[in-house]
């Protein structure tokens, strides 16, 4: 008997699953109880390094700054041979060309924020042009922000349509959708925004711009990972995850990896599906890698500040 194929139906997002705050925070803290030692620590650190989106998003960014950052992305710490590179360099659209050239041939992706980052308070056609500009200059990935004002006003269709139109403007580039969870207020809303973004065509969902506190937290990331898992089971489509902002220490990054491993498993344990949006994490990871290899902690001055 022929069975009607299930179609992905755009849901009523106000019916997105609810999240129990106490429960999700308890589960998230449980991941921090895993003890990561010896070779699993070293392997976790190498994986973390390889998942970092090295980021500079400042008004004072210049070509020179971006070039230096790109060199660091390719050569995080040349004193140790065979280290992986980071996953991507994340810049403003105006810096995409410089980054693309500097990273040429390295395999490192260029990610560009777009859509009137970080506030997202601009008309849609401006956001689309912003996106197209970044992609035309060579961005492999676009990190957009959602319209949080519209989201709070309950205009979910507006948010959905905007994400869909940016996705269209991205063409081949992968789209990361920043929910700015620090402005959403509840885990219920984080879940709802995740569902909207995934259904509207996001390739990645991302917690934060890094400009608002709180940025990424473990419970927020867990809510998003669980949304990804459910979306995968419903549609068969994998969505990537990028916690950003506030993850500056290796130990915390390893806790995130534990959470990823125990929530989504092997298929997501690579930089195609998981990223850390961070700038200061890299040096702490490098310091820990050196410690694991030599048994000694080096002073911070041994690691370049880019």
């Amino acid at each position: 008997m022929a069975v009607a194929r299930s179609k992905t139906i755009v849901s009523d997002f106000s019916l997105s699953p609810h999240i129990d705050q106490v429960g999700v925070e308890e589960r998230a803290s449980r991941f921090t109880k895993r003890s990561i030692k010896k070779e699993s620590k070293l392997n976790g650190l190498l994986l973390t390094l390889n998942m970092i989106d090295l980021t500079t998003l400042e008004g004072k960014d210049t070509d020179g700054k971006v070039k230096q950052l790109c060199y660091k992305a390719m050569h995080p710490y040349d004193a140790i041979q065979g280290l992986p590179t980071v996953a991507a360099v994340c810049v403003y659209p105006s810096m995409v060309k410089v980054a693309k050239k500097a990273l040429d041939g390295s395999g490192i992706k260029v990610a560009s924020v777009a859509t009137a980052f970080p506030s997202g308070q601009a008309p849609r056609d401006v956001k689309i042009r912003d996106t197209k500009y970044a992609v035309a200059n060579g961005a492999d990935e676009v990190d957009m922000v959602i319209s949080r004002g519209k989201f709070h006003a309950g205009e979910y269709n507006f948010v959905f349509d905007e994400i869909a139109s940016i996705k269209e403007a991205c063409g081949e580039a992968r789209l990361k959708v920043i929910l700015e969870t620090g402005e959403l207020g509840t885990y219920d809303k984080v879940r709802r925004a995740s569902d909207i973004a995934m259904h509207a065509g996001a390739d990645f969902i991302k917690t934060s711009t890094g400009k608002i506190q709180p940025a990424a937290t473990m419970p927020v990331t867990l809510v998003m990972l669980e949304a990804i898992r459910e979306f995968y089971y419903k549609t068969g489509k994998m969505i990537g995850m990028k916690p950003a902002g506030g993850i500056s220490k290796s130990k915390l990054a390893l806790h995130y990896l534990v959470m990823l491993k125990e929530t989504l498993g092997e298929d997501w344990m690579n930089n195609h599906w998981f990223r850390f949006g961070a700038s200061s994490l890299a040096n702490d990871v490098l310091m820990q890698i050196v410690k694991e290899k030599t048994g000694l902690y080096q002073a911070a001055n041994y690691f370049s500040v880019d």
Binding site: K7, V22, V24, R27, K33, S35, K37, N43, Y233
Partner: protein, 493 residues
């Protein structure tokens, strides 16, 4: 993108990045080769002259041997407790009594690491639990009841609260140290003296507590800790000079105790078995509910009298919940109890493992679908994979009888009335759980469930301030909180 059928999709939790072993060091704990009986503040040889082995259930190696107390030894302990009661403890001012209990609480905290290691070695529970739950909660119990000692007049105003005398206390093997704390702390706070017997498979943490008590300079005889099996327990129950029996253990033994003390003046509290219903409504936060269900049944290998061993899921979300349960099951780590990453340790004894296996067989024979995790088990020791049964009917034995292991029976329901009826349809009534986003539903459920504790949107939460105890064949009397003082007091009407 093409849509694949969701039942072919599978997440792979056996990842290339894995956790290296992170064992807690055994050398931080001192275990003697042999333990005598702790009577009248001193270690005394058993008049039986017999000792029995206590083993590590994770590798079946002998840890120590402990004395077997016979009737004469029990009598010696009761006489010591009676003397201490009449001559010292009942006369001591309440605030002085409190100081001793506070001191014991602090010493339990100071020796927390050692106690946690001993608890995991002797009982098989994961170090994460003994370190983060058993030992700290035990210390909290002493702290809490120390505070009550000089405030009994305020707890029961105008009722002239008076101590009873000697309490005989018999505790189980699932939370050896914590149960000792639950029993000893309120008894001392109310001015009673104690003869306590830990379970024969897990005596070591109680004996370590005896060392702490000795070091705390508690007057000799106020707490006596003697070891032995069922016969020793029976001798305590039958001893004529005991005023109160406090027992935690199986319903079967509870009934024997009640028969034995019928017609005597002895007061009793019994905390017995359970077959708790954990109920998930379709509007519940499902991921958190699943986590709560997992902790509700797999905490301490399911050796928990209030374990949520019957899961009732509303049919509309049953498939989804079962899938989530199976995924979560795969990320549980079964193995060395001393490894900090272990979620599920060893089954406490060979006998208990046989009981669990018996029920697994029954479940399959009854036609329920069995699902167990794919994890490898160590060769030596007593192990059981976390297991769940789906397609279970209310009339199945695995849904009615207490298994006391890591085995969850999953049943479905349609309406609120139906699930309340099914949840109450058991001889037990110790605990229950309700998962829903709707507050009014929680209150409706908690009002109608016949269980001593009902958790809402959480499970297995314990606090010294909160009373705990059962309905029906789960026993009577309450432990914890102000209610926990009552069984150790006579009150004027």
């Amino acid at each position: 993108m093409a849509t694949r059928k969701s039942n072919t999709l599978k997440l792979k939790f056996d990842t290339s990045w894995s956790y290296a072993p992170a064992p807690e060091s055994k050398s931080a704990a001192t275990i003697n080769k042999q333990y005598d009986l702790f009577i009248n503040g001193a270690w005394q040889k058993p008049s039986s002259k017999k000792y029995f082995d206590t083993i590590n259930p994770a590798n079946e190696e002998k840890l120590s041997e402990v004395a077997e107390a016979n009737e004469a030894d029990v009598n010696k302990a009761v006489v010591a407790a009676r003397n201490a009661y009449e001559k010292v403890w009942r006369k001591m001012s309440a605030k002085e009594r409190a100081k001793y209990i506070f001191r014991i609480a602090r010493m339990v905290q100071e020796k927390a690491r050692e106690l946690a290691i001993i608890e995991s070695l002797d009982g098989g529970k994961p170090i994460r639990e003994s370190r983060d739950f058993d030992v700290p909660t035990a210390a909290n119990h002493f702290f809490y009841y120390a505070g009550w000692a000089d405030k009994l007049e305020y707890a029961f105003p105008n009722r002239n609260p008076q101590s009873l005398g000697v309490a005989g206390q018999i505790i189980p093997w699932n939370f050896p140290l914590l149960m000792a704390a639950w029993k000893i702390a309120p008894a001392l706070a109310t001015g009673n003296t104690v003869v306590l017997k830990p379970a024969e498979t897990t005596p070591l943490s109680a004996l370590k507590l005896a060392e702490i008590i000795q070091e705390s300079d508690l007057p000799p005889g106020v707490v006596n800790i003697i070891t032995g099996a069922g016969a020793t327990g029976a001798a305590i129950v039958k001893h004529p000079d005991i005023n109160k029996i406090a027992f935690t253990g199986s319903t079967e033994v509870g009934k024997i105790i009640q028969k034995a003390i019928a017609g005597t003046h002895k007061k009793a509290t019994l905390e017995l078995g359970g077959k708790a219903a954990n109920i998930i409504f379709e509007d519940a936060p499902l991921d958190q509910a699943v986590e709560g269900v997992i902790n509700g049944i797999f905490f301490n290998q399911g050796h928990v009298c209030c374990a949520g061993s019957r899961l009732y899921v509303q049919e509309s979300v049953a498939k989804q919940v079962i899938k989530k349960l199976k995924d979560r099951l795969e990320s549980l780590i079964v193995g060395d109890p001393l490894d900090k990453n272990t979620d599920i340790g060893a089954i406490n004894s060979k006998q208990q493992l046989e009981t669990i296996h018996k029920y697994l067989k029954i479940g399959k024979q009854e036609g329920a679908e069995m699902y167990e995790t794919s994890c490898a088990l160590p060769r030596k020791g007593f192990w059981c994979r976390p297991t769940l049964f789906t397609n279970v009917a209310q009339s199945n034995r695995i849904a009615q009888e207490e298994i006391f292991g890591p085995v969850l029976a999953v049943l479905t329901f349609r309406t609120e009335d139906e699930v309340i009826e099914k949840a109450n349809n058991t001889p037990y009534g110790l605990s229950a759980g309700v998962w829903t986003d709707k507050g009014s539903k929680i209150f409706n459920m908690t009002r109608r469930m016949r269980a001593g504790v009902v958790w809402a949107n959480t499970f297995n939460k314990f606090d010294p301030t909160s009373p705990f105890g059962g309905y029906k064949e789960s026993g009577f009397g309450r432990e914890g909180g102000l209610h926990g003082l009552l069984p150790y007091l006579n009150l004027a009407n």
